[in-house]
Protein backbone atom coordinates (compact mmCIF):
# COMPACT_ATOMS: atom_id res chain seq x y z
CA UNK A 1 0.00 0.00 0.00
CA UNK A 2 1.31 3.45 -0.82
CA UNK A 3 1.87 5.71 2.17
CA UNK A 4 -0.76 8.16 0.89
CA UNK A 5 -3.45 5.48 0.99
CA UNK A 6 -2.21 4.44 4.42
CA UNK A 7 -2.56 7.99 5.70
CA UNK A 8 -6.04 8.41 4.24
CA UNK A 9 -7.09 5.16 5.91
CA UNK A 10 -5.55 6.18 9.23
CA UNK A 11 -7.46 9.46 9.10
CA UNK A 12 -10.67 7.53 8.38
CA UNK A 13 -10.03 5.15 11.29
CA UNK A 14 -9.37 8.04 13.66
CA UNK A 15 -12.42 10.02 12.56
CA UNK A 16 -14.69 7.01 13.00
CA UNK A 17 -13.32 6.23 16.45
CA UNK A 18 -13.98 9.81 17.52
CA UNK A 19 -17.62 8.98 16.76
CA UNK A 20 -17.40 5.66 18.68
CA UNK A 21 -17.30 3.61 15.48
CA UNK A 22 -14.78 1.32 13.75
CA UNK A 23 -13.98 0.68 10.11
CA UNK A 24 -15.11 -2.96 10.32
CA UNK A 25 -18.37 -2.07 12.06
CA UNK A 26 -17.40 -3.24 15.53
CA UNK A 27 -18.11 -1.30 18.71
CA UNK A 28 -15.06 0.08 20.55
CA UNK A 29 -14.93 -2.81 23.02
CA UNK A 30 -15.99 -5.61 20.66
CA UNK A 31 -13.70 -8.49 19.76
CA UNK A 32 -13.59 -9.97 16.30
CA UNK A 33 -14.95 -13.50 15.94
CA UNK A 34 -12.87 -16.02 17.91
CA UNK A 35 -12.49 -19.68 16.91
CA UNK A 36 -10.50 -22.16 18.99
CA UNK A 37 -9.64 -25.67 17.79
CA UNK A 38 -7.69 -27.97 20.08
CA UNK A 39 -5.64 -31.06 19.22
CA UNK A 40 -4.78 -30.71 15.53
CA UNK A 41 -1.14 -31.79 15.70
CA UNK A 42 -0.87 -35.42 16.81
CA UNK A 43 2.95 -35.30 17.06
CA UNK A 44 2.70 -32.53 19.66
CA UNK A 45 1.88 -33.29 23.29
CA UNK A 46 -0.81 -30.62 22.95
CA UNK A 47 -1.88 -28.18 20.27
CA UNK A 48 -4.43 -25.56 19.39
CA UNK A 49 -5.30 -23.21 16.59
CA UNK A 50 -6.89 -19.85 17.22
CA UNK A 51 -8.54 -17.61 14.65
CA UNK A 52 -9.15 -14.05 15.82
CA UNK A 53 -10.75 -12.53 12.75
CA UNK A 54 -8.09 -13.22 10.13
CA UNK A 55 -5.27 -13.45 12.67
CA UNK A 56 -4.27 -17.11 12.86
CA UNK A 57 -2.12 -18.69 15.56
CA UNK A 58 -1.02 -22.30 15.98
CA UNK A 59 0.43 -23.31 19.33
CA UNK A 60 2.03 -26.64 20.11
CA UNK A 61 3.51 -28.08 23.27
CA UNK A 62 6.33 -30.55 23.75
CA UNK A 63 7.47 -32.11 27.02
CA UNK A 64 11.02 -33.09 27.82
CA UNK A 65 12.78 -34.19 30.96
CA UNK A 66 15.40 -31.69 32.06
CA UNK A 67 17.00 -29.95 35.01
CA UNK A 68 15.19 -27.46 37.25
CA UNK A 69 16.56 -23.94 37.72
CA UNK A 70 18.85 -23.78 40.74
CA UNK A 71 16.56 -21.34 42.59
CA UNK A 72 13.43 -23.49 42.10
CA UNK A 73 14.66 -27.07 42.54
CA UNK A 74 11.14 -28.44 43.14
CA UNK A 75 9.48 -26.93 40.11
CA UNK A 76 9.10 -27.81 36.47
CA UNK A 77 10.20 -25.44 33.76
CA UNK A 78 8.06 -23.53 31.26
CA UNK A 79 9.58 -22.19 28.06
CA UNK A 80 7.45 -20.09 25.73
CA UNK A 81 8.77 -19.29 22.30
CA UNK A 82 7.05 -17.27 19.56
CA UNK A 83 7.81 -17.35 15.85
CA UNK A 84 6.64 -14.63 13.52
CA UNK A 85 6.54 -17.10 10.64
CA UNK A 86 7.48 -15.23 7.45
CA UNK A 87 4.50 -16.51 5.48
CA UNK A 88 2.22 -14.67 7.92
CA UNK A 89 3.15 -11.18 6.74
CA UNK A 90 5.38 -9.51 4.18
CA UNK A 91 6.95 -7.62 7.10
CA UNK A 92 8.14 -10.76 8.90
CA UNK A 93 11.65 -11.87 8.03
CA UNK A 94 13.21 -15.25 8.57
CA UNK A 95 16.03 -15.40 11.10
CA UNK A 96 16.57 -15.50 14.84
CA UNK A 97 13.79 -14.00 17.00
CA UNK A 98 13.78 -10.22 17.14
CA UNK A 99 12.44 -7.74 19.65
CA UNK A 100 8.79 -8.18 18.63
CA UNK A 101 8.64 -11.95 18.82
CA UNK A 102 10.62 -11.96 22.07
CA UNK A 103 8.20 -9.49 23.64
CA UNK A 104 5.24 -11.54 22.37
CA UNK A 105 6.66 -14.75 23.86
CA UNK A 106 7.46 -13.10 27.16
CA UNK A 107 4.03 -11.51 27.55
CA UNK A 108 2.35 -14.87 26.87
CA UNK A 109 4.80 -16.55 29.25
CA UNK A 110 4.15 -14.05 32.06
CA UNK A 111 0.39 -14.45 31.78
CA UNK A 112 0.69 -18.21 32.33
CA UNK A 113 3.43 -18.00 34.93
CA UNK A 114 2.10 -15.15 37.09
CA UNK A 115 -1.50 -16.41 37.15
CA UNK A 116 -0.10 -19.72 38.40
CA UNK A 117 -2.03 -21.44 35.61
CA UNK A 118 0.44 -24.33 35.72
CA UNK A 119 1.11 -26.14 38.98
CA UNK A 120 4.90 -26.19 38.61
CA UNK A 121 5.40 -28.25 41.77
CA UNK A 122 3.53 -31.15 40.14
CA UNK A 123 6.00 -31.05 37.27
CA UNK A 124 8.91 -32.03 39.51
CA UNK A 125 10.19 -35.59 39.12
CA UNK A 126 13.26 -35.58 41.38
CA UNK A 127 13.91 -32.36 43.32
CA UNK A 128 17.00 -30.56 42.11
CA UNK A 129 17.66 -33.22 39.46
CA UNK A 130 14.84 -33.95 37.08
CA UNK A 131 11.71 -32.06 36.17
CA UNK A 132 9.34 -31.81 33.25
CA UNK A 133 10.20 -29.02 30.86
CA UNK A 134 7.13 -27.74 29.04
CA UNK A 135 7.80 -26.05 25.72
CA UNK A 136 5.03 -23.90 24.29
CA UNK A 137 5.73 -22.84 20.72
CA UNK A 138 3.50 -20.08 19.42
CA UNK A 139 3.40 -19.96 15.66
CA UNK A 140 1.92 -16.91 13.98
CA UNK A 141 0.46 -18.13 10.66
CA UNK A 142 -1.38 -14.99 9.64
CA UNK A 143 -0.94 -11.51 11.04
CA UNK A 144 -3.99 -9.32 11.04
CA UNK A 145 -3.38 -7.54 14.32
CA UNK A 146 -3.60 -8.26 18.07
CA UNK A 147 -1.13 -11.12 18.10
CA UNK A 148 -0.87 -11.03 21.90
CA UNK A 149 -4.46 -11.92 22.74
CA UNK A 150 -4.64 -14.60 20.05
CA UNK A 151 -1.28 -16.08 21.06
CA UNK A 152 -2.10 -16.13 24.76
CA UNK A 153 -5.36 -17.89 23.99
CA UNK A 154 -3.68 -20.42 21.68
CA UNK A 155 -0.95 -21.13 24.22
CA UNK A 156 -3.47 -21.73 27.00
CA UNK A 157 -5.68 -23.87 24.74
CA UNK A 158 -2.65 -25.98 23.78
CA UNK A 159 -1.70 -26.43 27.45
CA UNK A 160 -5.26 -27.50 28.28
CA UNK A 161 -4.96 -30.05 25.48
CA UNK A 162 -1.56 -31.37 26.61
CA UNK A 163 -1.00 -34.93 27.78
CA UNK A 164 1.94 -35.81 29.99
CA UNK A 165 3.29 -39.33 29.71
CA UNK A 166 3.18 -41.47 32.84
CA UNK A 167 6.47 -42.57 34.35
CA UNK A 168 8.08 -44.29 37.27
CA UNK A 169 11.58 -43.94 38.66
CA UNK A 170 13.72 -47.07 38.57
CA UNK A 171 17.27 -46.87 39.84
CA UNK A 172 17.54 -43.18 39.21
CA UNK A 173 16.30 -43.49 35.63
CA UNK A 174 12.90 -42.26 34.48
CA UNK A 175 10.96 -45.09 32.83
CA UNK A 176 8.02 -44.21 30.61
CA UNK A 177 4.85 -46.12 31.48
CA UNK A 178 1.79 -46.55 29.29
CA UNK A 179 -0.94 -43.95 29.42
CA UNK A 180 -1.15 -40.23 29.82
CA UNK A 181 -2.14 -37.67 32.44
CA UNK A 182 -3.45 -34.22 31.64
CA UNK A 183 -1.17 -31.30 32.45
CA UNK A 184 -2.06 -29.69 35.83
CA UNK A 185 -3.60 -26.45 34.53
CA UNK A 186 -5.55 -24.73 37.30
CA UNK A 187 -6.08 -21.17 36.11
CA UNK A 188 -7.09 -19.65 32.80
CA UNK A 189 -5.47 -16.26 32.26
CA UNK A 190 -6.88 -14.27 29.35
CA UNK A 191 -5.02 -11.39 27.71
CA UNK A 192 -7.05 -8.37 26.68
CA UNK A 193 -5.32 -5.79 24.51
CA UNK A 194 -6.28 -2.16 24.03
CA UNK A 195 -5.13 0.32 21.43
CA UNK A 196 -5.19 4.02 22.06
CA UNK A 197 -6.37 5.88 18.97
CA UNK A 198 -7.40 9.51 18.97
CA UNK A 199 -7.20 9.40 22.78
CA UNK A 200 -9.84 6.64 22.96
CA UNK A 201 -9.29 3.04 24.00
CA UNK A 202 -10.51 0.24 21.74
CA UNK A 203 -10.13 -3.50 22.30
CA UNK A 204 -8.71 -6.10 19.92
CA UNK A 205 -7.12 -3.80 17.31
CA UNK A 206 -6.76 -5.32 13.87
CA UNK A 207 -3.76 -4.65 11.65
CA UNK A 208 -4.77 -1.26 10.27
CA UNK A 209 -5.78 -0.03 13.69
CA UNK A 210 -2.39 -1.11 15.02
CA UNK A 211 -0.74 0.93 12.28
CA UNK A 212 -2.77 3.91 13.48
CA UNK A 213 -2.55 3.54 17.26
CA UNK A 214 -0.40 5.65 19.59
CA UNK A 215 0.13 2.96 22.16
CA UNK A 216 -0.95 -0.51 23.20
CA UNK A 217 -1.92 -1.89 26.60
CA UNK A 218 -2.42 -5.55 27.46
CA UNK A 219 -4.05 -6.69 30.70
CA UNK A 220 -4.05 -10.37 31.55
CA UNK A 221 -6.86 -11.38 33.87
CA UNK A 222 -7.34 -14.63 35.80
CA UNK A 223 -10.54 -16.59 36.62
CA UNK A 224 -11.13 -14.50 39.76
CA UNK A 225 -10.87 -11.17 37.93
CA UNK A 226 -7.42 -10.49 39.32
CA UNK A 227 -4.91 -8.65 37.18
CA UNK A 228 -1.92 -10.95 36.73
CA UNK A 229 0.19 -9.37 33.99
CA UNK A 230 0.33 -6.06 32.13
CA UNK A 231 2.36 -4.84 29.20
CA UNK A 232 2.35 -1.38 27.69
CA UNK A 233 3.78 -1.13 24.18
CA UNK A 234 4.28 1.50 21.51
CA UNK A 235 5.71 4.97 21.66
CA UNK A 236 2.65 6.76 23.05
CA UNK A 237 1.26 7.01 26.57
CA UNK A 238 -1.87 6.52 28.69
CA UNK A 239 -3.35 8.63 31.45
CA UNK A 240 -3.68 6.96 34.86
CA UNK A 241 -7.45 7.14 34.40
CA UNK A 242 -7.25 5.24 31.10
CA UNK A 243 -5.18 2.57 32.81
CA UNK A 244 -7.81 1.92 35.45
CA UNK A 245 -10.61 2.07 32.88
CA UNK A 246 -8.74 -0.52 30.81
CA UNK A 247 -8.42 -2.84 33.82
CA UNK A 248 -12.19 -2.71 34.40
CA UNK A 249 -13.01 -3.43 30.76
CA UNK A 250 -10.40 -6.19 30.58
CA UNK A 251 -12.12 -8.03 33.45
CA UNK A 252 -15.39 -8.16 31.50
CA UNK A 253 -13.79 -9.14 28.21
CA UNK A 254 -11.62 -11.84 29.81
CA UNK A 255 -14.68 -13.54 31.24
CA UNK A 256 -16.32 -13.59 27.79
CA UNK A 257 -13.28 -14.90 25.95
CA UNK A 258 -12.51 -17.57 28.56
CA UNK A 259 -15.72 -19.30 27.45
CA UNK A 260 -14.10 -20.14 24.11
CA UNK A 261 -11.84 -22.68 25.86
CA UNK A 262 -12.69 -26.26 26.69
CA UNK A 263 -11.41 -27.95 29.83
Amino acid sequence: MSSVIVRVKQKQIMDLIAKGKRLDGRGLTDYREIKVEQGLIERAEGSARVLLGKTEIMAGTKIEIGKPFSDTPNEGVLTVNAELVPLASPTFEPGPPKEDSIELARVVDRGIRESKALDFKKLCIKPGKKVFVIFVDVYVLNHDGNLIDASALAALAALLNTKMFNYEIEEDEVKIKPGYTPLPVGKHPIAVTFAKINDKLIVDPWLEEEQTMDARLTMTIDDDSNVCAIQKGGSGYFTPKQVLEAAKTAMEKAEENRKKLKW
Binding site: R43, K62, L87, D137, Y139, D144
Partner: protein, 244 residues
Protein backbone atom coordinates in the same frame (compact mmCIF):
# COMPACT_ATOMS: atom_id res chain seq x y z
CA UNK B 1 9.53 -44.49 23.03
CA UNK B 2 9.05 -45.77 19.48
CA UNK B 3 8.30 -49.42 18.95
CA UNK B 4 10.36 -51.32 16.40
CA UNK B 5 7.98 -53.16 14.08
CA UNK B 6 9.21 -56.56 13.03
CA UNK B 7 7.83 -56.33 9.53
CA UNK B 8 6.93 -53.37 7.31
CA UNK B 9 4.89 -55.55 4.91
CA UNK B 10 2.47 -58.12 6.31
CA UNK B 11 1.55 -61.54 4.97
CA UNK B 12 -1.13 -60.09 2.75
CA UNK B 13 1.42 -57.76 1.17
CA UNK B 14 -0.03 -54.74 2.94
CA UNK B 15 1.88 -51.98 4.70
CA UNK B 16 1.68 -50.86 8.35
CA UNK B 17 -1.04 -48.34 7.53
CA UNK B 18 -2.94 -50.84 5.38
CA UNK B 19 -1.81 -49.51 2.02
CA UNK B 20 -0.81 -51.61 -0.96
CA UNK B 21 2.82 -51.17 -2.10
CA UNK B 22 1.96 -48.89 -5.00
CA UNK B 23 -0.64 -46.83 -3.17
CA UNK B 24 -0.34 -43.18 -2.18
CA UNK B 25 -1.38 -41.91 1.23
CA UNK B 26 -4.56 -39.86 1.38
CA UNK B 27 -3.84 -36.37 0.14
CA UNK B 28 -5.69 -33.11 0.68
CA UNK B 29 -4.61 -29.96 -1.09
CA UNK B 30 -5.89 -26.39 -0.74
CA UNK B 31 -4.70 -23.35 -2.66
CA UNK B 32 -4.78 -19.71 -1.56
CA UNK B 33 -5.38 -20.15 2.15
CA UNK B 34 -3.02 -17.48 3.52
CA UNK B 35 -4.51 -13.96 3.32
CA UNK B 36 -1.22 -12.03 3.47
CA UNK B 37 0.97 -14.08 1.13
CA UNK B 38 0.98 -13.39 -2.61
CA UNK B 39 0.38 -17.11 -3.16
CA UNK B 40 -0.10 -20.04 -0.83
CA UNK B 41 -1.05 -23.68 -0.56
CA UNK B 42 -1.66 -26.26 2.13
CA UNK B 43 -1.04 -29.97 1.76
CA UNK B 44 -1.95 -32.85 3.99
CA UNK B 45 -0.32 -36.11 2.89
CA UNK B 46 -0.78 -38.86 5.43
CA UNK B 47 -0.03 -37.05 8.68
CA UNK B 48 2.17 -34.45 7.00
CA UNK B 49 0.67 -30.98 7.40
CA UNK B 50 2.51 -28.38 5.39
CA UNK B 51 1.98 -24.73 4.51
CA UNK B 52 3.72 -22.98 1.63
CA UNK B 53 3.63 -19.22 1.09
CA UNK B 54 5.13 -17.13 -1.70
CA UNK B 55 6.01 -13.42 -1.70
CA UNK B 56 7.10 -11.72 -4.87
CA UNK B 57 8.31 -10.84 -7.35
CA UNK B 58 9.35 -8.03 -5.00
CA UNK B 59 12.34 -5.86 -4.20
CA UNK B 60 15.26 -7.85 -2.82
CA UNK B 61 16.87 -7.14 0.55
CA UNK B 62 19.79 -6.80 0.79
CA UNK B 63 19.91 -5.10 -2.60
CA UNK B 64 23.33 -6.34 -3.66
CA UNK B 65 21.83 -9.83 -4.10
CA UNK B 66 19.73 -8.65 -7.06
CA UNK B 67 20.68 -9.91 -10.53
CA UNK B 68 20.47 -7.75 -13.66
CA UNK B 69 18.98 -10.45 -15.89
CA UNK B 70 16.67 -12.50 -13.75
CA UNK B 71 14.75 -12.85 -10.51
CA UNK B 72 16.39 -14.48 -7.51
CA UNK B 73 14.47 -17.42 -6.11
CA UNK B 74 14.91 -18.02 -2.40
CA UNK B 75 13.45 -20.84 -0.37
CA UNK B 76 13.24 -21.61 3.32
CA UNK B 77 12.16 -25.06 4.48
CA UNK B 78 11.37 -24.80 8.17
CA UNK B 79 9.95 -27.19 10.74
CA UNK B 80 7.70 -26.11 13.60
CA UNK B 81 9.26 -27.17 16.91
CA UNK B 82 6.18 -29.30 17.64
CA UNK B 83 6.10 -30.99 14.22
CA UNK B 84 8.27 -33.95 15.22
CA UNK B 85 8.57 -36.45 18.07
CA UNK B 86 11.46 -34.70 19.81
CA UNK B 87 11.14 -30.90 19.90
CA UNK B 88 13.05 -29.32 17.05
CA UNK B 89 14.94 -26.13 17.80
CA UNK B 90 13.61 -23.29 15.63
CA UNK B 91 17.16 -22.45 14.45
CA UNK B 92 17.83 -23.96 11.01
CA UNK B 93 19.64 -27.31 11.15
CA UNK B 94 22.08 -28.48 8.49
CA UNK B 95 19.33 -30.73 7.15
CA UNK B 96 16.96 -27.74 6.88
CA UNK B 97 19.57 -25.80 4.93
CA UNK B 98 20.20 -28.67 2.52
CA UNK B 99 16.48 -29.26 1.98
CA UNK B 100 15.89 -25.56 1.36
CA UNK B 101 18.51 -25.77 -1.38
CA UNK B 102 17.23 -28.90 -3.11
CA UNK B 103 13.62 -27.71 -2.96
CA UNK B 104 14.64 -24.39 -4.50
CA UNK B 105 16.57 -26.21 -7.23
CA UNK B 106 13.59 -28.49 -7.85
CA UNK B 107 11.34 -25.48 -8.42
CA UNK B 108 13.74 -23.24 -10.34
CA UNK B 109 13.50 -25.08 -13.70
CA UNK B 110 9.75 -24.44 -13.74
CA UNK B 111 9.95 -20.64 -13.45
CA UNK B 112 10.61 -18.06 -16.18
CA UNK B 113 13.22 -16.35 -13.99
CA UNK B 114 14.18 -13.88 -16.71
CA UNK B 115 10.72 -12.23 -16.66
CA UNK B 116 11.46 -10.26 -13.49
CA UNK B 117 15.05 -8.99 -13.46
CA UNK B 118 16.37 -7.32 -10.27
CA UNK B 119 13.61 -8.81 -8.11
CA UNK B 120 13.30 -11.68 -5.71
CA UNK B 121 10.73 -14.39 -5.07
CA UNK B 122 10.62 -15.88 -1.57
CA UNK B 123 9.15 -19.28 -0.86
CA UNK B 124 8.48 -20.13 2.77
CA UNK B 125 7.58 -23.71 3.63
CA UNK B 126 6.42 -24.52 7.14
CA UNK B 127 6.17 -28.12 8.30
CA UNK B 128 3.44 -28.10 10.93
CA UNK B 129 3.57 -31.87 11.27
CA UNK B 130 6.10 -34.26 9.74
CA UNK B 131 5.39 -37.84 8.77
CA UNK B 132 8.01 -38.83 6.18
CA UNK B 133 8.32 -37.36 2.70
CA UNK B 134 8.10 -33.72 3.79
CA UNK B 135 10.48 -32.52 1.09
CA UNK B 136 8.28 -33.97 -1.66
CA UNK B 137 5.04 -32.67 -0.20
CA UNK B 138 6.74 -29.28 0.27
CA UNK B 139 7.62 -29.13 -3.42
CA UNK B 140 4.08 -30.09 -4.42
CA UNK B 141 2.63 -27.33 -2.22
CA UNK B 142 5.26 -24.69 -3.02
CA UNK B 143 4.74 -25.10 -6.76
CA UNK B 144 1.03 -24.45 -6.25
CA UNK B 145 1.81 -21.41 -4.11
CA UNK B 146 3.97 -20.06 -6.96
CA UNK B 147 1.12 -20.61 -9.41
CA UNK B 148 -1.30 -18.96 -6.97
CA UNK B 149 1.04 -15.94 -6.81
CA UNK B 150 0.68 -15.63 -10.59
CA UNK B 151 4.34 -16.41 -11.33
CA UNK B 152 4.68 -17.52 -15.00
CA UNK B 153 5.71 -21.19 -15.06
CA UNK B 154 6.59 -23.85 -17.63
CA UNK B 155 4.68 -26.51 -15.69
CA UNK B 156 3.77 -27.35 -12.13
CA UNK B 157 6.40 -29.31 -10.21
CA UNK B 158 5.13 -32.32 -8.32
CA UNK B 159 7.12 -34.64 -6.11
CA UNK B 160 6.80 -38.08 -4.59
CA UNK B 161 9.14 -40.68 -3.15
CA UNK B 162 9.39 -44.40 -3.72
CA UNK B 163 11.58 -46.74 -1.74
CA UNK B 164 12.10 -50.16 -0.27
CA UNK B 165 10.21 -51.62 2.66
CA UNK B 166 11.51 -55.07 3.59
CA UNK B 167 12.09 -56.45 0.07
CA UNK B 168 9.29 -54.60 -1.68
CA UNK B 169 9.47 -51.42 -3.71
CA UNK B 170 6.77 -49.15 -2.29
CA UNK B 171 5.33 -45.74 -3.07
CA UNK B 172 5.13 -42.65 -0.83
CA UNK B 173 6.92 -43.80 2.32
CA UNK B 174 5.55 -42.69 5.65
CA UNK B 175 7.75 -41.97 8.65
CA UNK B 176 8.30 -45.54 9.88
CA UNK B 177 9.00 -46.89 6.39
CA UNK B 178 11.41 -44.03 5.82
CA UNK B 179 13.33 -44.80 9.02
CA UNK B 180 13.20 -48.62 9.04
CA UNK B 181 13.05 -49.26 5.31
CA UNK B 182 15.92 -50.11 2.99
CA UNK B 183 15.91 -47.09 0.73
CA UNK B 184 14.14 -43.82 -0.07
CA UNK B 185 14.14 -42.17 -3.50
CA UNK B 186 12.44 -38.75 -3.59
CA UNK B 187 11.74 -37.51 -7.11
CA UNK B 188 10.33 -34.22 -8.41
CA UNK B 189 8.88 -33.96 -11.89
CA UNK B 190 7.51 -31.45 -14.36
CA UNK B 191 5.12 -33.95 -15.96
CA UNK B 192 4.52 -32.13 -19.24
CA UNK B 193 8.24 -31.84 -19.90
CA UNK B 194 9.16 -35.28 -18.52
CA UNK B 195 11.81 -33.39 -16.55
CA UNK B 196 13.18 -34.70 -13.24
CA UNK B 197 14.02 -31.63 -11.15
CA UNK B 198 14.84 -33.34 -7.86
CA UNK B 199 16.42 -36.73 -7.33
CA UNK B 200 17.97 -37.95 -4.15
CA UNK B 201 18.50 -41.33 -2.61
CA UNK B 202 19.36 -42.93 0.72
CA UNK B 203 19.80 -46.62 1.24
CA UNK B 204 20.94 -49.57 -0.85
CA UNK B 205 19.34 -50.56 -4.15
CA UNK B 206 20.47 -52.74 -7.04
CA UNK B 207 20.17 -51.21 -10.49
CA UNK B 208 16.93 -53.11 -11.09
CA UNK B 209 15.42 -51.99 -7.80
CA UNK B 210 16.52 -48.43 -8.45
CA UNK B 211 14.92 -48.44 -11.90
CA UNK B 212 11.68 -49.80 -10.45
CA UNK B 213 11.69 -47.23 -7.64
CA UNK B 214 12.26 -44.31 -10.01
CA UNK B 215 9.44 -45.43 -12.26
CA UNK B 216 7.10 -45.94 -9.32
CA UNK B 217 7.93 -42.50 -7.94
CA UNK B 218 7.21 -40.97 -11.37
CA UNK B 219 3.86 -42.76 -11.44
CA UNK B 220 3.11 -41.30 -7.98
CA UNK B 221 4.08 -37.84 -9.21
CA UNK B 222 1.63 -38.09 -12.10
CA UNK B 223 -1.21 -39.11 -9.77
CA UNK B 224 -0.54 -36.17 -7.45
CA UNK B 225 -0.24 -33.86 -10.46
CA UNK B 226 -3.93 -34.50 -11.19
CA UNK B 227 -4.81 -33.51 -7.62
CA UNK B 228 -2.62 -30.40 -7.91
CA UNK B 229 -4.49 -29.25 -10.97
CA UNK B 230 -7.84 -29.92 -9.32
CA UNK B 231 -6.84 -27.88 -6.28
CA UNK B 232 -5.84 -24.96 -8.50
CA UNK B 233 -9.09 -25.21 -10.42
CA UNK B 234 -11.08 -25.33 -7.17
CA UNK B 235 -9.44 -22.11 -6.02
CA UNK B 236 -10.22 -20.29 -9.24
CA UNK B 237 -13.75 -21.57 -9.41
CA UNK B 238 -14.39 -20.40 -5.86
CA UNK B 239 -12.86 -17.04 -6.71
CA UNK B 240 -15.06 -16.83 -9.79
CA UNK B 241 -18.12 -17.63 -7.69
CA UNK B 242 -17.25 -14.91 -5.23
CA UNK B 243 -16.72 -12.43 -8.05
CA UNK B 244 -19.96 -13.25 -9.83
Amino acid sequence: MSQKPEKLIDKKGLRLDGRKPEELRSIKIEVGILPNADGSAYIQQGKNKILAGVFGPRELHPKHLALPDRTVLRCRYHMAPFSVQERKSPAPSRRDIELSKVIREALEPSIFLEYYPRTGIDIFVEILQADGGTRCASITAASLALADAGIPMRDLVVACAAGKADDTIVLDLMDTEDKKGGADVPVALMPNLNAVTLLQMDGILTFEEFEKAVNLALKGCREIYTMQKEALKAKYESVKEVEE
